[in-house]
């Protein structure tokens, strides 16, 4: 029977793959001999990537975990070593065919509005994720194989999937699939956006859009992932500080106690400052990459894509942009992702780039060094919102490397909304992005041809890659119920992607968190690589 033992096997495998992934230690700065102090307020400075709504099921924003974790708990939690541990579910069983998941729920959990956590509540949440009215950009895709659920008794829910889906348990540990109050979902689901009600260590207090969110302690909290009992902090506040320099200076001035997204340029200064502490965690998923639109010329030609990949000195760019804080990506999954395979084959090789372009027919060169074929210039358009200075830097340096190889990249400055629309329509050649998730299924989301945006459905296959062999591999890995077999298929898929070169994987973006030494007990949400506060206290 494939039951908990499967889970344990997966866990063991995960542990094996994850031991190599570096900075996994929680960012705890244990000071002095005094124990945790109760009370007080902690202020976090976050970047301006503010969610438009606080219903986690409606979000795909990077900061969802940081902003939502205080309010919401998940069914499972992911450990530092990748193991899935009980949280709101106390146990689970998977049927041999991988189609039925039976969850046993934790007792005694109450939401902030007093409603009880039971099988009905879990079912309501799963239904809410996929309800068309929720317009879920992420949770719905993550539980796409969900068919229906049967309430066996108050504490037991039997979830049926339409097809086996190996990543199901992993994604359930992510904050995008966290559990909302059943009362709220039944009575007024739309209100979750503005007044989210969960079961987490903090109760939502107020949200001043464009400025920040405040939370207060949930005194009844006794089901924390690492500790029973309510949070030490009386209040928690998250402030959105757009400018890198402003955020860093706010920490220096003591206006905030912790900052997320520490500017890479300031990390050295933080480390050298005795009043500050620094910590980081590698995020799982797809590395930060330069996406190439394979749906139109010039990047519809795989040789041109391979050429650009080889023309770019990724290490030089990443080192200069991050001041050595980021590690260069080794493939299409970051090392902290389950089933990551180190395939190599992304070496900087300008000679090979030139050879590939010659082979693709771009032999002649114009006066400015840009290659020409049949009177047409080898030119591509990149979209940049200018919001993130590091992204612009990466584009500019990629542009310079491409120009040396004879590929012209024009950078267009567009507002975020336009960028998102044009990317969905395929009206671009180059863009940059990252996809953080705790399963290799990210490859299916990003590269399966079924996820290309059509007029009916918005998919997340930005590069519009359409490869039968890869589709088959990703579907098989998805349906695999055998962990070792799945890892092998994902290994093949990653190797195939290196050949198809739909993107240039650049770096594994870590979470860079800096804090005042007064702050203790910061923890991580390992399913996403985000800082959490349920055990934090201020001395």
């Amino acid at each position: 029977m494939l039951t908990r033992s499967t889970t344990l096997l997966v866990a063991a495998l995960l542990a094996a793959t994850l031991t190599a992934c570096g900075t996994n230690a929680a960012p705890t700065t244990t000071g002095g001999g005094t124990g945790p102090k109760s009370g007080g307020t902690l202020v976090l400075g976050e970047n301006a990537d503010e969610p438009a709504c606080l219903d986690p099921h409606q979000l795909s924003t990077t900061n969802t975990t940081v902003v939502g974790r205080p309010i919401f708990d998940s069914l499972l939690r992911q450990d530092a070593d990748g193991t899935l541990k009980p949280w709101l579910a106390s146990a689970w069983q998977v049927s041999a065919d991988g189609l039925t998941y039976t969850f046993t729920l934790r007792e005694g959990v109450r939401f902030h509005d007093g409603s009880a956590w039971d099988a009905e509540a879990l079912k309501l949440n799963l239904e809410h994720m996929r309800a068309p009215a929720t317009k879920s950009p992420l949770a719905a895709a993550y539980i796409a194989p969900y068919e229906d659920a049967k309430v066996v008794d108050e504490r037991t829910l039997e979830v049926r999937l339409a097809s086996p889906y190996s990543a199901f348990l992993n994604v359930l540990a992510q904050s995008y699939l966290a559990m909302i109050s059943p009362k709220q979902l039944k009575e007024d689901p739309a209100s979750t956006c503005e007044h989210p009600v969960g079961s987490g260590p903090f109760v939502f207090d107020a949200w001043a859009k464009g400025q920040g969110i405040t939370y207060r302690r949930n005194p009844d909290y006794a089901w924390g992932p690492t500790r029973t009992g309510p949070a030490h902090l009386e209040r928690l506040e998250i402030r959105f500080l757009a400018e890198d320099a402003t955020r860093y200076n706010a920490l220096l001035a003591g206006e905030v106690d912790v900052i997320d997204n520490t500017p890479p340029a300031s990390v050295e200064d933080v480390k050298a400052n005795p009043a500050l502490a620094f910590t980081s965690l590698d995020r799982p998923g797809h590395p930060f990459s330069v996406w190439l639109n394979t749906g139109r010329a010039p990047f519809s030609d795989v040789k041109v894509r391979q050429a650009l990949t080889r023309a770019v000195d990724r290490k030089a760019i990443i080192d200069s942009v991050s001041f050595g804080r980021w590690t260069v990506a080794t493939g299409f999954l970051t090392p902290s992702t389950p089933d990551h395979a180190d395939a190599g084959g992304l070496a900087h090789d300008p000679a090979e780039a030139a050879r590939l372009l010659d082979e693709a027919g771009w032999r002649e060169k114009g006066a400015d060094g840009i290659r020409v074929k049949d009177g047409e210039r080898l030119t591509a358009t990149a979209l940049d919102t200018g919001v993130n200075p590091q992204n612009t830097q990466i584009l500019v340096q990629t542009q310079a490397a491409a120009a040396k190889a004879g590929i012209e990249i024009k950078i267009e400055n567009v507002p975020a909304q336009v960028s998102s629309e044009r990317t969905a329509k395929g009206d671009f050649d180059v863009s940059v992005g990252i996809w953080t998730t705790n399963t290799a299924d990210v490859l299916w989301i990003q590269y399966a041809s079924g996820n290309i945006t059509t007029s009916e459905r918005r998919g997340q296959n930005t590069t519009r890659l359409d490869d039968d062999k890869l589709d088959d591999l990703l579907e098989r890995a998805r349906a695999s119920t055998d962990a070792a077999g799945r890892a092998a298929i994902y290994g093949e898929a990653q190797a195939r992607l290196l050949g198809l070169a739909p993107a240039i994987p650049l770096y594994d973006r870590p979470s860079l968190v800096s804090s005042s030494t007064k702050v203790h007990g910061l923890t991580w949400d390992h399913a996403y690589g985000a800082v959490t506060f349920q055990d934090a206290w201020v001395s």
């Binding site: 400018e243 890198d244 320099a245 860093y248 500017p263 340029a265 300031s266 200064d269 000195d313 030089a316 760019i317 080192d319 200069s320 942009v321 940049d384 919102t385 200018g386 919001v387 200075p389 612009t392 830097q393 584009l395 500019v396 340096q397 542009q399 310079a400 490397a401 024009k410 950078i411 267009e412 400055n413 567009v414 507002p415």
Partner: protein, 267 residues
């Protein structure tokens, strides 16, 4: 003593114009040459003003950015001056309906801060240098339209215009020979001040990422990017900032001198 300042300002402007026309005279370096291994280097013999976050020569980028930055300043004023002037003239000389329409439109335009109006134009037309020029220019139109109209009204009722009419001169001739030349002086004064403001506005648009797209050098966008590295690389922000300041001061000083001179006062 005062004149020395004016001459110095004029000299700065001459150098700027020369840099805009022939940047190669001032630097041999390529403003677009990226060097990932040599980013944010302090001033040295090889890079007199240091390098930026992409290892590009800051001096070369300032020099090569002169053309775009001046174009933003002077181009935007030219747009505002021409269209504002024509509208103001029409309002001043036309019938009630024309005057009403032009003035109410300019009221609406003036109700918005100039930069906000420019942002609206950019949002509709898209980013880029030429659109930035257009955007800042359009935002400045109401000011010029008002000034020219007020001047036109005053001149229209003046004795010499009445005399010209009495002499039987045609309306276009009266407008071109008598009204326009006399209305233009205060407008030119506004324009010299305007060049400075437009340059700063252009820098602000680039600063917001809506002006000149990368990798083209432009002072405002340089300053904008530099602020992220200010604690590590002071040279990156200080020099483009100094270039903007120096230009605005020079234009203002020269503009003031020209105005005083046109009024027959000592400068």
């Amino acid at each position: 003593m005062k004149r020395a300042g004016v001459y110095a300002a004029a000299a700065v402007l001459a150098v700027l114009v020369l840099a805009a026309l022939a940047p190669e005279l001032f630097t041999a370096q390529d403003p677009l040459a990226v060097d990932s291994g040599g980013t944010l280097r302090p001033p040295s013999a090889g890079h007199p003003l240091g390098t930026d976050e992409n290892g590009r020569d800051v001096l070369a980028r300032i020099v090569h950015g002169t053309r775009t930055s001046l174009l933003l300043g002077f181009g935007a004023v030219a747009v505002a001056l021409v269209f504002g002037g024509l509208l103001g003239l029409a309002a001043g000389l036309g019938n009630r309906l024309v005057e009403g329409v032009v003035m109410r439109l300019s009221d609406v335009g003036m109700a918005f801060p100039e930069l906000l109006l420019a942002l609206v134009v950019i949002t509709v037309a898209g980013g880029g240098t030429s659109n930035a020029v257009l955007a800042i220019g359009v935002a400045g139109i109401p000011n010029y339209a008002r000034l020219v109209r007020a001047q036109t009204l005053a001149i229209r009722r003046s004795g010499y215009v009445e005399a010209a009419h009495a002499l039987g001169l045609s309306a276009p001739r009266v407008i071109l020979r008598h009204v326009l030349p006399n209305a233009v002086k205060p407008v030119l004064v506004l324009a010299t001040v305007g060049v400075g403001t437009a340059l700063v506005a252009g820098s602000a648009l680039s600063f917001l990422g809506l002006g000149t797209p990368p990798p083209e050098p432009e002072w405002g966008s340089m300053l904008s990017t530099a602020r992220n590295f200010i604690s590590r690389a002071w040279w990156y922000g200080v020099f483009p900032g100094a270039a903007i300041t120096l230009t605005v001061i020079s234009v203002t000083v020269v503009g003031r001198a020209l105005r005083l001179r046109s009024e027959g006062r000592a400068w």
